[in-house]
């Protein structure tokens, strides 16, 4: 009697084909799931998907808006990718982005028109990054020195940051609030000189933020994959024990990466503030950008360079959402698709890490039983 079973075995490095195919298939599978829900609710999936493609890439302006949406996602994606690779579970990019925005706006308002833009803008961006790093340190320091689980602390810090941001504009008369706005509180507009310039008229309001984001992604990749410092980081990520025995200062490495991750997320908030928003606007900063960044990182398999195209794809989805309202389809379709893509990408990870084979039960030699289907 032939009994067969499926065995799962870990494999080493999967081939490039498998590594590319799995994310693409997960996107495809998510589109299928989305199509099922769209059909069930009486919509035409092809019409909806074509509309989304058109909104995201159909015009120069659309492409500009897609890249605007992609900018913070690339940065929060890089923030998650570098941390996760080191087994630092920083899921606080959301809050670090917000505090980065608060810090950047604070610096900008404090500087005022005293400095020329070319000096002030970089200062403000650095200030935002510092804000993000500072917020991350609240979780990073206990993690490194006390062993406190950073998953929960970074998660909780997100909600503290949301309330902090809202408090500064909606709950108090802080310097962040526009003193002119009494009935409907708003963020105080930044000084005119502190503004990221736009790239080209044809691309609408797209500013240099996208180039900064791409630069940061490439720099992060270079640092981690091409330098001795990055090699040590990867050792810590792959095997903390090995790192310890070979004399790498593990706590210090973890702290550095944690703060760097927070700084990159903070930079995302700063770019939004000095770029398209022009003020610290809580409503435009509380959009789940940090959480989507985690999807971006997971889909990019924690490779900072791969984060760039994935970030643009997610930016395209975000940008396409509002366009769906014109054909009476809920914007939430996009969130659903993003969640589904992530679920499939996560599941796909299994097929990258493991090989699945069907084998006969052990205890028989191949001569005993004919191979099914071989004849």
């Amino acid at each position: 009697m032939t009994t067969r079973r499926v065995i799962v075995e870990p494999r080493g490095l999967a081939s490039l084909r498998v590594r590319m195919l799995v994310p693409l298939l997960s996107i495809l599978a998510a589109l299928v799931v989305g199509a099922v829900f769209l059909s069930l609710t009486g919509n035409s999936p092809t019409e909806v998907y074509l509309k989304m493609v058109d909104a995201a890439f159909g015009t120069n302006r659309g492409i500009g808006e897609t890249l605007i949406s992609a900018t913070p996602l690339i940065l929060t994606g890089v923030a998650a990718a570098i941390a996760f690779r080191m087994l630092v579970w920083n899921i606080g990019a959301e809050g670090q982005l917000m505090v980065g925005a608060v810090a950047a706006a604070g610096f900008a308002i404090a500087i005022g028109d005293t400095l020329p833009g070319i000096v002030a803008v970089p200062l403000v961006l650095v200030g935002g990054a510092l804000g993000g790093a500072l917020w991350a340190s609240i979780a990073a320091v206990p993690r490194v020195y006390l062993g406190t689980n950073e998953i929960i602390t970074t998660l909780m810090l997100n909600f503290i940051a949301i309330n902090l941001m809202n408090y500064l504009v909606f709950g108090s008369f802080s310097p962040w609030r526009d003193p002119e706005s009494t009935q409907f509180p708003q963020g105080r507009p930044l000084p005119d000189s502190i503004n990221l310039p736009e790239i080209a008229d044809s691309l609408g309001r797209l500013d240099f933020g996208i180039l900064i984001a791409i630069g940061v992604a490439i720099t992060a990749w270079f640092l981690i994959d091409k330098t001795p410092w990055g090699f040590e980081l990867r050792v810590v990520g792959d095997s903390p024990d090995t790192a310890r025995y070979s004399g790498i200062g593990v706590p210090r490495k973890i702290l550095t990466v944690f703060l760097f991750s927070g700084a990159v997320a903070g930079l995302a908030g700063a770019i939004l503030v000095v770029g398209i928003l022009g003020k610290m606007d809580p409503r435009s900063l509380d959009l789940g950008l940090g959480f989507v960044g985690i999807i971006v990182a997971a889909l990019a398999r924690l490779n900072p360079v791969a984060v760039i195209p994935v970030g643009i794809l997610m930016g395209a989805l975000n940008n396409a959402g509002p366009a769906l309202q014109s054909i009476q389809v809920p914007t939430a379709t996009v969130t659903m698709l993003q969640g589904a893509i992530l679920i499939f990408a996560v599941a796909g990870e299994f097929f990258i890490a493991n090989r699945i084979r069907r084998v006969r039960r052990p205890g028989r030699t191949s001569a005993d039983v004919p191979v099914e289907g071989a004849t």
């Binding site: 810090l157 408090y167 969130t335 993003q338 299994f350």
Partner: protein, 314 residues
Amino acid sequence: MNESAIVLTIFAAIGLGTPVVFATVGEIITERAGVLNLGVQGTMLVGAVSGFWATWVSGSLTLGVLAALVAGGAVTFLHAFSSITLRVSQIVSGLALTLFGTGLATFIGRAGETPLVGNPSKKQFEPIFDGAIAELPIVGPLLFGHDILVYLSWVVVAASSFYLFQTRFGLALRSVGEDPASAEAAGVNVNRVRYLHVIGGGALSGLGGAYFSLALVPSWQDDLIGGAGWIAIALVILASWRPWRALFAAYLFGAAGRINFTLQTLQIDIPSNLLAMLPFVLAIVAMIILTSGKRARLLGAPAALGIPYFREQR
């Protein structure tokens, strides 16, 4: 504050806390099995919209509750499958579930010719006792003034506490969360235990969501539940993975919300945003003080929490 104001506050705290009780106990059961589920927020929203929808089409609250339980369990199956069978990162998988669930719930609420969103519920849970017993001073409202789901939540807390600490199944569950390899050696089917409790925990979260849409708010709106799912994750730590403590933690959270409201009506200016931070700040402080290193064990954190179990690699 006079006596009746205190009673009113506690009464309101029980109402506001009840959805969080269900979700927190659900997450405690999940985490006791060694699985971290960050999908609670999405699961609660799916439960809320499913329960609302089922009551909307059938006119039956019972069917609404059943739909919420089933829907909560069903979406949580995704997390169970990824984290137990596929053994992928529980963090990423859980966040994916929250994202997917939030999108799905909003989508269900807004899709179709006559969307559910913005409608009041066709039926809603009402207090089950009336007459003299409910009008007794103090104990009337506090013990006999609630709808049936509040009493159900007490039953769930008592039963899950008994189950966890007094039964053979509870022992097996806790052993799976502490040391899955030893549990397996002792004859416990680790994966089956994990599947059952992760999905059961998800069903409870779904029910917690439905408490919003069928009792507390009774209506459906996008993001109806606020951040209740995240609060539940914070309260699991504050309750140190114990159901009875979760009940009181959830009521404290409810009281904070109510006091916030009372202060506003009295025009006492404690900014609501700062008060809203409180549970999260407390959770972080508790994490740092209590769960660092060895003390985490005293607190009751399952040792294998968040770690995938590789049977073949034992």
